[in-house]
Amino acid sequence: MMTVQASKIGTNAEPADTPILEMCGISQIFPGVKALDGVNIALYPGKVTALIGENGAGKSTLVKILTGIYRPNEGEILIDGKPTAFANAQDAIDAGVTAIHQETVLFDELTVGENIFLGHAPKTRLGLIDWRQINERSRTLMQALESDIDPTTKLKDFSIAQRHLVAIARALSVEARIVIMDEPTAALSRKEIDDLFRIVEGLKRQGKAILFISHKFDELYEIADNYAVFRDGRMVGTGVLKTTPQDEIVRLMVGRDVHDVFPKTPAVIGASVLSVQGYSHETEFRNISFELRKGEILGVYGLIGAGRSELCQSLFGITRPASGTLSLEGSPIIINSPADAIAAGIVYVPEERGRHGLALEMPIYQNISLPSLVRTSVSGFLKAANELKLARRYAERLDLRAAALSVPVGTLSGGNQQKVVIGKWLATAPKVIILDEPTKGIDIGSKAAVHGFISELAGEGLSIIMISSELPEILGMSDRVMVMREGQSAGIYEREGLSAETLVRAATGNA
């Protein structure tokens, strides 16, 4: 029997065709729903297995079983061929399974070393925390990840990407042989993703088995060896990823042919609606100029932290630019606050719609009417009847499913909450709508619906600014694309003949 220590050091000691971990006939039943139905999956040493599936396909349930949070109703987990049962999360860790979650909980005010060893700090003989060991082992772990971060520095001093490295180091600080990565690239820019992939390659060389969950195909094809596709709680296909065309994977995922995931319908583009000239901010962006025309979708592409959201937030009046002018339909306007922007007809749908979009305890109709109260009020006083009328109109248009418009938004499902956010902004009757990462973290089927809706809005003559980090989305949806790099415009490109390479080169500065 291979010991944990041996597998960590021995790179090619194990033959690659013997799985470290197998799940056989796993079923997980919740009251009224079978979340997993007789699932088989095998993870091999030195291999990355991509776990693919739409939201609700059972991916997170699988992860929770592997990390000991759920106990399956049927089936068994074999580790090195031996049946193993996880009674709790600690059992899973002891068995060598570790997970890097989408949003890892780390502590800003603690040092890197403390974050890495929180909960399993090495102790001295007296039972006190052994700081020397914490810092030495943290340094070793970080060096293994090709990072020279000082473990005694507080976490708050580091960038998002560096924090991610700390999260990975934390996951590896336990003796892990099986590493689960749940959408690890969601918050990362292209360059940071490249760094992450180098780390994954390193883990492969160490003979670890990796389960990699992502929605982004280009990344999966880059990093994964095998794939397993889930649909409705079943494993519907598995094999070697490189030799399987993307169409085949998509077909397995959705169970039907998907012709075009990004259906931008051609729209009639009219006169200039919004004109931005020389917009600059003291620290965030400089000398940005562009025109936005009626019915046009302007994509804004760039790496994370390129200043895209910051630019749009200042167009919306959250922050104020140091210089530059703005004109709407030919007349100059000054926007000092979001209220000014809404009154002028510019709205901004923020990236974190859950956190930034809704007051969950407020009734649905009050959430929808919140930015439109000026229009629904009668001589300065609120009028609930008008608010309800407005809310009902958009609830019907968006096919919102709710028991009543007077129930708190918090009682709705995620998809319906999204509809409330969109309805709230459409209800302001905007001329320009700024969408910040409109499809972040949602599955392919819902993405298509969102894209269809955006196209429809453009077709109705709305002008749209769409910030996105996903190249297929930018290329598929935009009439023109502005690329931002380090707070400055790196060019505006027409849709015709635009390639992904052009955009990436502009965004990274490798002209």
Binding site: A343, R355, H356, E361, M362, I364, A403, S413
Partner: protein
């Protein structure tokens, strides 16, 4: 019945009625209309103060300076009345509301413009306003014989069977509930507390909403300052000491979320009445004042536990048939 119990205002109302009935088995006249009117009158100032506090709490803030504001304003108008007996009462009341609003505006300004956490600001101004009361009065008392008869008599004047003090409380209840339900300022307090970031994106000036909430709370504290001094016919530095905690407790018991964004005027009024009934009942059934404080404290802790349980998520509506049953009717 299950649904009745879910309505927390109704539940609290039933508990209060139950308490009154329970106490009346021990003290004969407890449930008589006259005594109930007395309890309401006794609780009037707490109701007014708690409603100001409520608006502040809705915006995810807290005003610990209300009782100190009350003491300063009460002292100021009592001294004015003593020094210039000719001043009309209406002017003195306007002055009380004005001074209170000004002190509230200082809190609001510090919270809005300087972005200092409300608990820190009002903990500071609590001490400052008490200190100012001492400086203003030199530690001296203003006694009943120094104040004018109309100054003292106004809140006691009985109109339509109730003292004016009670009517003032009723008027404030109506006013605050109108502000919260029918003005955009009222709506913005709920939005600012429920989700400040979403409120900013919706074009609401969260800082301004907080500022106005503090001004309103201060104005009501100022009004309470006059009412307190005239009702108890004395003004000194330590009046209403610790009363800010009662105003917070009334809100907690009434189901106003300390995290902001949740609560109704009825809830706060019932929370205040709940405390009022206990304060009036315990001496009647022979419980010492020290035990009274402990009992009030236990009730507050129980209310917090109850709130925490009630706020726990009941689950979202994902099942289609549950949502479709009464789809988009409202």
């Amino acid at each position: 019945m299950q649904n009745l119990l879910k309505n927390r205002e109704l539940l609290l109302g039933l508990i209060i009625v139950g308490m009154i009935l329970g106490f009346s088995t021990r003290a004969d006249n407890f449930a008589s209309p006259g005594n109930l009117a007395n309890i309401f009158n006794d609780t009037s100032i707490l109701i007014i103060l708690a409603l100001g506090q409520m608006v502040v709490i809705l915006t995810k803030s807290i005003d610990l300076s209300v009782a100190a504001n009350l003491a300063f304003t009460g002292m100021a108008v009592a001294m004015l009345d003593a020094a210039y007996p000719g001043l009309p009462l209406a002017l003195l009341i306007v002055v009380a509301i004005g001074i209170g609003a000004m002190l509230g505006a200082i809190n609001g300004f510090l919270v809005w413009a300087l972005q200092i956490p409300p608990i820190v600001v009002t903990l500071g101004t609590l001490t400052i306003y008490r200190g100012m009361t001492f400086v203003l009065s030199g530690g001296a008392w203003v006694n009943a014989h120094q104040m004018q008869p109309d100054f003292l008599g106004f809140p006691r004047t009985v109109v339509l069977g109730l003292p004016i003090l009670s009517w003032v409380a009723i008027a404030i209840v109506i006013l605050v509930s109108f502000i919260l339900t029918r003005t955009s300022f009222g709506r913005s307090t709920y939005a600012a507390g429920g989700n400040p970031v979403a409120a900013i994106y919706a074009g609401i000036d969260v800082g301004r909403a907080r500022f106005l909430a503090f001004v309103l709370s201060g104005a009501l504290a100022g009004l309470s300052g006059y009412l307190w001094v005239s009702r108890y016919a004395v003004a000194y530095v330590d009046i209403a000491g610790g009363f800010e905690l009662d105003s917070v407790a009334a809100n907690v018991i009434g189901g106003i979320s300390i995290a902001g964004g949740i609560g109704t005027v009825i809830g706060t009024v019932l929370g205040a009445l709940f405390l009022g009934v206990i304060k009036n009942a315990l001496p009647v059934i022979g419980i010492s004042p020290f035990a009274q404080m402990a009992i009030s404290g236990i009730v507050i802790v129980l209310a917090v536990v109850f709130n925490a349980r009630a706020e726990r998520k009941k689950g979202r509506i994902i099942l289609r048939d549950r949502a479709a049953k009464t789809e988009v009717t409202a």
